[in-house]
Each structure stands twice: as C-alpha cells, then as structure tokens.
C-alpha cells in the first residue's frame, strides 16, 4: 500500500498540505467569506425592508378600505334617511288630500240630501194641493156642492193620515 510504504513522501505531503490549506484559509478568511457575509446580510436587509414596506402598504390599503367602507355605509344610511323623509312627506300629503276629499264628499252628500229633502217636500206639497183640488172638483161634479178649500184639505189630510 503506497500510503504506508512511501514514508519518504510524508514530509512533502504535509508540507504541501500546510501550504495549500494555509493559502486557502487566508484567501477564504480575508476575501471570500467577508464578501459572502456582506452579500447575504445586504440581501437579508433588503428582504426585511421590503417586507416592512409591504406591511406599511398593507396597513395603508386596510385604512383606505375602512374609509371606503365607512363612506359607503354613510351614503347608504343617508340615502335611507332621504327615502324615509320622502315617504313621510308623501304619506302626509296623501293623508291631507284624503282628508280634504272626504270632507268635500261629506259636504256634497249633505247638500244633495238637503236638496232631495226639499224636492221631496215640494213634491208632497204639490201632490197635496193637487189632491185637494181633485177632491173639490170631484165633489162638485158628483154632488154639485162646492167644498171649501179648508174642508177639502182637512179631508185629504185625514185620508192621508188614515193610509199612514
């Protein structure tokens, strides 16, 4: 096995190990690793900053959203109030008009009833006078006696009374 037979190469192997390993150590320690750590640190900072920015934007968006929602809710309640006011106004108007109309109807009805009553009274009076005259005329034709108006009228009244 050359590993155990070539003992004379041990010194050379270890010498070159120390030289190359030492060189690599110094280069990595002084040049590569600080650079790497800077790169990674900067990236981490950038990521953190971006996350922080995103969080701020999210907060702003949330605020805007809540403002918008509040505006919508306000507008909705305002609209509802306007609708309610209009409804109330219309209902009041309708009630007043209804009241005026029913008053007019009542008045017209009363007037008409009065007119009817008057007409009826006139008609009854006319019929009465006609009946009295008819009775006078009939009496004079039948028995040839003139019945005074007062008697005839009383007789007609009695007869009418009797009929109810």
């Amino acid at each position: 096995m050359p590993q155990l037979e070539q003992i004379h190469t041990f010194l050379s192997q270890i010498f070159w190990l120390v030289v190359t390993f030492g060189l690599l150590y110094v280069v990595l320690w002084k040049a590569a690793l600080p650079r790497m750590s800077t790169i990674l640190l900067e990236r981490q900072q950038r990521i953190d900053e971006d996350i922080r920015k995103a969080e701020t934007f999210k907060q702003e968006a949330d605020e805007a959203m809540s403002v918008y929602e509040k505006a919508v809710a306000d507008a909705r309640s305002e609209a509802q109030a306007v609708i309610r006011a209009a409804n109330d106004k219309l209902a009041a108007e309708a009630a007043t008009r209804q009241e005026a109309l029913s008053a007019k109807i009542k008045r017209d009805t009363a007037e008409a009833e009065e007119r009817i009553g008057k007409a009826r009274a006139e008609a009854v009076e006319t019929i009465h006078t006609v009946a009295v005259q008819a009775a006078q005329a009939a009496t004079s034709r039948l028995i040839g006696a003139d019945v005074p108006a007062d008697e005839a009228k009383a007789a007609v009244d009695a007869a009418l009374q009797g009929r109810g």
Partner: protein
C-alpha cells in the same frame, strides 16, 4: 489467462495511490518535492478560490449560477456550525469552511479518472485530524484552564465509577484524531480500490463485462455521495469537538 489480459500484476488496484514526484525540491536535506498529491491540492485550492472569489465578484443581490453555488456552500457550513456549536461557533467558521471545502474538493477531484485523491493518504488525513485535535485541546485549556479535565468525568457518574470512567474517557478523547483520520482515509481508499477492482473485471470478462461496467457506474454515484458525506462528517465532528471544548458537557 485473466491476469494476462489486463496486464498482469503491474496494474494493482493500489497503484492509483502511488505518489509520483513531479518537481523534485529539497530544502536542507528535507524532501518537499512537488508531487501529484501536491498538484491536486493546488488544483483543489484554485477551484475553491475560483468558485468563492471569482464566482461572487458581482456581489449580485439576485445570485447567478456560480454565486448561488457559493452561497449554498456558505449557508450549508454556517447552518452546520450554528446547529452544533451555536453562536460562539462563528469565530471558527473560516476554519471549518476551509476544512470542509478542502476535503470535499479533494474527494470530488479524486473521482475524475486518472486524477489523484490526496485525501486517500493517511499522512494528509492524519495531519488534518491532528490540527483539529491539537487546536481543540488548546482551545479547551485556554477557555477553561485545568477545569478542562472535567471533560473526562461524565456528569452524574458516582465517584466509585471514576477509576473506570476516566480512563475510558481519556482513551476515547485521545482516539479522536485517529478515528477522524482513519475514517476519511479508509473511505477514500476502499472506495477507489473497489472501483478499480471492478473496472479491471470489465476488459477481463469481454462481452459479459457490461455487468461490472454497470456496477462501476452505480458505484461511482455512491462514491460521489461518500465523497460529500466524508467531508461533511469531518466538518461536523470538528464542530462537535469545538463544542465540547467550549461547553465541556
């Protein structure tokens, strides 16, 4: 017959682990030649630097392909340390990261045909394990002083058990670098040897060689997993040892 068809004893499955001198260097009588092992270490370091430094040069807020891979490794190791050591582990992040990437790239480069796996050598893995072991021990003493020895006394153990428990704990502590080094070394050695052995069956079996070829294909996938897993295990155990040294129990 079979041995003749695939070149005889010369092509041992262990030949791939042989260290070859590329540029002979000698300083004060010590042989520190640049070898194939050293070449792979240099390539591994070059690739890691390319990925981690050139790949992230734009420092883009939105990462491109290479930066995404670099970030993935960074966060993987960062999470590993956070989960095992906690926030105090940040100081050791560069070391753990270097260790993880070095072993991972060493293992992965070893999967390239005709390349060399420097983590399959006990000298390399043991050296890394000893650095971890000594570093953790020094860290423990620096942080807790002599109180660090209480690591060897498991909490809640009655005093009459101490003569038994303390030697066990000391042995388990001292065996840490050995197990750390052996685990990586043995995994790389066994995996690559197995691949080589089965690959050797492919030409030997002729038309039926399709079976070992399929097996080698599947085994390559498994070895990729092991290459990653062993780097991960080495790194996580280092983290756990650091955690032990920082918090004792």
């Amino acid at each position: 017959m079979a041995t003749d068809t695939h070149g005889g004893e010369k092509h041992s499955p262990l030949e791939q682990f042989e260290i070859k001198e590329l540029i002979p260097i000698e300083i004060g009588g010590n042989d520190i030649s640049f070898t194939n092992s050293a070449l792979m270490m240099v390539i591994a370091v070059a690739l890691i630097v390319l990925l981690m430094v050139v790949g992230t040069r734009k420092q883009a807020m939105i990462p491109g392909r290479w930066q995404a891979i670099a970030e993935m490794f960074y966060e993987f190791v960062a999470n590993l340390i956070r989960d095992t050591v906690g926030n105090e582990g940040r100081k050791y992040f560069p070391f753990i990261f270097t260790l993880f990437m070095f072993i991972l790239f060493g293992n992965m480069l070893g999967m390239v045909p005709y390349s060399f796996t420097f983590t399959s050598h006990i000298a390399v893995t043991f050296a890394m394990a000893m650095v971890v072991f000594l570093g953790v021990t020094i860290l423990g003493f620096a942080k807790h002083g002599l109180h660090f020895f209480s690591l060897f006394v498991p909490p809640g153990v009655p005093i009459w058990m101490w003569p038994l428990m303390i030697p066990i704990e000391v042995i388990s502590y001292l065996s840490r670098p050995i197990s750390l080094a052996m685990r990586l070394f043995a995994n790389m050695l066994a995996g690559h040897t197995l691949l080589k052995v089965f690959a050797g069956f492919v030409p030997a079996l002729g038309a039926a060689g399709i079976l070992p070829l399929a097996f080698v294909g599947a085994l390559t996938g498994l070895e990729m997993l092991i290459a990653f897993l062993q780097a991960y295990v080495f790194a996580i155990l280092t983290c756990l040892y650091i955690n032990d040294a920082l918090h004792l129990h």
